[in-house]
């Protein structure tokens, strides 16, 4: 009996690795267990070696572990690529006959994955055979797996769904008969109903809940998942999803629709966001609300298209020419993804500024089961809007105490709606006057920033006063949480928002710490520099990882023991 298992399904792109992984994750979630699943895939449509790894436990889990207790390989190359990842005492299931592997190493077991798939109707269902085998090894009954298979293929023809259900059943029966072992049986009390969701999906739900009615983007991994999810629900929620001809068009369309009074947004990864920078500056200058999700992957240039990084913190903090106020949110969990989307729309509209959400491939595409999503928090607040029939003489960019003047919507407000990317006076017309320039800069930069600084999402602080304090933003939340629960005298600070930077909260959280370390998926310690710049406190070091993969619990623990 096991309290926790790490299960990996691996094969080529095209083998249905993600489908198999999702079936397993759902089956475990439905059994009342906690799951955390990551995808590791190459930038190609077919071939290569991909894996989907599900960590399943009786306790909540938030981060990946390294070695797998069960690996099912769907081709010969996957055996070679993954055999080193098998945990001591683990089981590697392969199809010796099909792969032409006669010599089985310790812990390896051969099962007729492809013969069983063929019996069920076709070789393509070998992934479902794998699901059946893993279900037999780890669960009491076949019901949950069968339900998950049905769910996964619900969009396909009845024939395909039936074939996969049959394949899973054959895998289950084969394993129950030939691989009977209670060693991998999972224990744990059911925890009730919950959701299984990835960061991109939760972010998209936040976008929908925020009342976004126009979503425009150019496809770019790993941000496209947000657009996919919004598009899935576009009809039901009255959203227009428009694929732009390029990222420049996307950001300018988002600004144009927002100017006309509709909550709208775009998203990309670093390379596409680079093309949007002029638009960020445009939104700031015209005081038009703009929401952009930047889902990071390793750069420079095209980089590692399907992998993860936190390299664009500096970039997003500074993107766009000129000086202006902005907000940057850095969610670390599905709950925070949803909340940050709703908050970003409110901030963008209330302060008429660019609001950026910084995520990454790992957060975007890893699946967690969560109890629920609080969709009522952060209800839409559209800020100050000039009423229909309002004073037509009111200036759109009138100076105010907080830097915010009422917006006008063309065709909906008594005031004319005006915007200019040139420096402009209070009526929106081009000016060359230095004193106007100074007042407008103060409006767009100082006054708005002061307002934004009063509403920073508070950092999550765990074990304040501990000897060692870890600091991270975004997707490192999970690995810091589990690390600190296990390590001695260690706490952490997680930032769900990095701009404006919570200076006071940081100093309070780190007071008395003997060792402050940042945990970052980049090569230069960008958060460490930000903390130093904004608080004067210099972190003692940084635990950095920049191979395109997320932190594992083992890596962070090792780095802590190593006394960085």
């Amino acid at each position: 009996m096991k309290e926790e298992l790490n299960i990996r399904i691996t094969g080529k792109a095209g083998h249905g690795i993600v489908s198999a992984g999702m079936m397993l994750a759902r089956a475990y979630k439905d059994s009342g267990l906690h799951v955390f699943a990551i995808q590791d895939y190459m930038s190609r449509i077919r071939g290569g070696n991909n894996f989907f790894q599900v960590r399943v436990s009786a306790r909540p889990v938030y981060a990946p572990r390294e070695k797998a207790d069960i690996i099912v390989a769907l081709d010969k190359e996957a055996v070679a690529a993954n055999k080193g990842e098998l945990a001591p005492g683990g089981l590697l299931v392969l199809d010796g006959e099909n792969f032409g592997i006669k010599e089985l190493e310790q812990g390896w077991v051969s099962a007729p994955l492809y013969a069983l798939a063929q019996e069920a109707g076709g070789p393509k269902s070998s992934n479902s055979v794998a699901v059946g085998i893993i279900a037999a090894l780890t669960c009491e009954d076949f019901d949950k797996a069968a339900k998950a298979v049905g769910r996964e293929f619900s969009g396909k023809s009845g024939e395909v769904a039936a074939m996969n259900r049959q394949a899973a059943l054959k895998g289950y029966e084969y394993a129950a008969k030939n691989m009977k072992s209670s060693e991998f049986r999972l224990t744990g009390a059911p925890h009730g109903s919950s959701l299984l969701i990835a960061g991109n999906e939760a972010l998209a739900l936040g976008v929908i809940a925020a009342g976004c009615k126009f979503y425009t983007a150019y496809p770019m991994s790993p941000s496209t998942g947000i657009m996919n999810t919004v598009a899935d629900y576009a009809g039901r929620y009255g959203i227009i999803v428009e694929q732009a001809e390029d990222e420049i068009a996307a950001v300018n369309m988002a600004v144009g629709a927002a100017f006309a009074g509709v909550r709208s947004m775009t998203a990309s990864s670093g390379g596409g966001f680079a093309l949007m920078c002029e638009g960020v500056s445009l939104a700031a200058m015209t005081e038009t609300p703009l929401v952009i999700a930047v889902v990071m992957r390793p750069g420079p240039a095209t980089g590692f298209p399907t992998r993860t990084a936190q390299e664009d913190l500096d970039f997003v903090l500074h993107a766009g020419h000129g000086e202006f106020a902005r907000a940057v949110y850095t969610p670390g969990s599905p709950q925070e993804c949803l909340l940050s989307a709703k908050r970003a729309f409110n901030t963008a509209e209330r302060f008429q500024v660019p609001a950026l959400i910084l995520s990454d491939q790992y957060l975007a595409e890893s699946f967690t089961n969560i109890e629920s999503l609080d969709t009522s928090a952060e209800p839409p607040d559209r800020g100050s809007i000039s009423e229909p029939g309002g004073d037509p003489a009111q200036d759109r960019y009138a100076y105010s105490q907080n830097g915010v003047s009422p917006r006008a919507f063309p065709g909906r407000s008594g005031t004319l709606a005006v915007a200019d990317s040139d420096e402009h006076g209070t009526q929106g017309h081009i000016t060359e006057l230095g004193e106007v320039r100074v007042k407008m800069t103060q409006k767009r930069l100082h006054l708005k920033l002061a307002g934004l600084a009063k509403e920073i999402l508070a950092p999550t602080v765990v074990n304040p006063g501990a000897k060692t304090m870890l600091c991270g933003f975004g997707s490192t939340l999970g690995v810091m949480r589990e690390t600190c629960a296990a390590a001695k005298d260690t706490g952490f600070v997680h930032y769900p928002q990095v701009w404006p930077f919570p200076e006071g909260a940081t100093l309070a959280a780190l007071e008395g710490a003997l060792r402050v370390l940042t945990v970052e998926n980049n090569a230069s310690g960008q958060l460490a520099r930000l903390i130093r710049r904004e608080t004067g406190l210099k972190p003692a070091g940084s635990i950095l990882k920049y191979d395109g993969r997320p932190f594992t619990l083992e890596e962070v623990a090792l780095a802590l023991e190593g006394g960085i």
């Binding site: 739900l205 925020a210 988002a254 144009g256 065709g411 004319l416």
Partner: protein, 282 residues
Amino acid sequence: METTDFDSSDPVAWCGGCGNFGLQAALKMALAKLGKKPQELLLVSGIGQAAKMPHYIKANFFNGLHGRALPAAAAAKIANRALTVIVTTGDGDCYGEGGNHLLHNIRRNVDITVIVHDNQIYGLTKGQASPTSEPGMKTKIQPGGVILAPFPPLETALALGCGFVARGYAGEKEHLAELILAGIAHKGFSLIDVFQPCLSFNELNTFDWYSKRVYKVGLEHDAANKGAAMALAARRERLPIGVIYSSAGPSYEELSGLDGMPALVDADISNVDLRHALADFK
């Protein structure tokens, strides 16, 4: 409505005698005839001398980035399709910097009217070649003369399936005003390329040069005939002005479902019920 209803308080920064004044007058005439109030109109522009037009007409306006008028205009129309959206742009803004947006917004076919002030030169940056400059024209940057082939806006628009393609001339204001009205009436993307002399920097394509070459397309031209339109658009010695091509086709609003929905801007977002979507993640 009168043309004076669209008078703006903003002082004009164009050079005296600029072809833009003819365009401004024609646009005001068209708007007066259209009969919509300034509140119902949205003028969108990028950067350049043409892009200053929205400041000089009383209406809602969005003067955005160089080359980026079309995406902003299309999205504003998608947001509120009751608005009459007119883009005032130039040959550099629309055919150079914003070329990709031109291609794809013709395909997108949102109901907006695009007026391109085509003076075959860069005015605001002081006299460099534009995408429509005549080969051989000498500038500070091209002292040996322009060697790039000119961008053919009408033929490009026709090839991309644009449903309304016209050409006007700033020296023919009443004629141009009628073209603008026809463009606004067309449901879908309308392109009106307008010859506009630049007195300060283009010594070749002057009022005199254009006046000798332009002629009004007469009744003999069948504007619903794409082949005839293409032949007309390809003329280089004498330059036809008028509706080159006009054909009704489904617009973005129709195909996207927008026409069957309340305007996006009127959506009540105070309490979006997520239960339906959340159920899929259980």
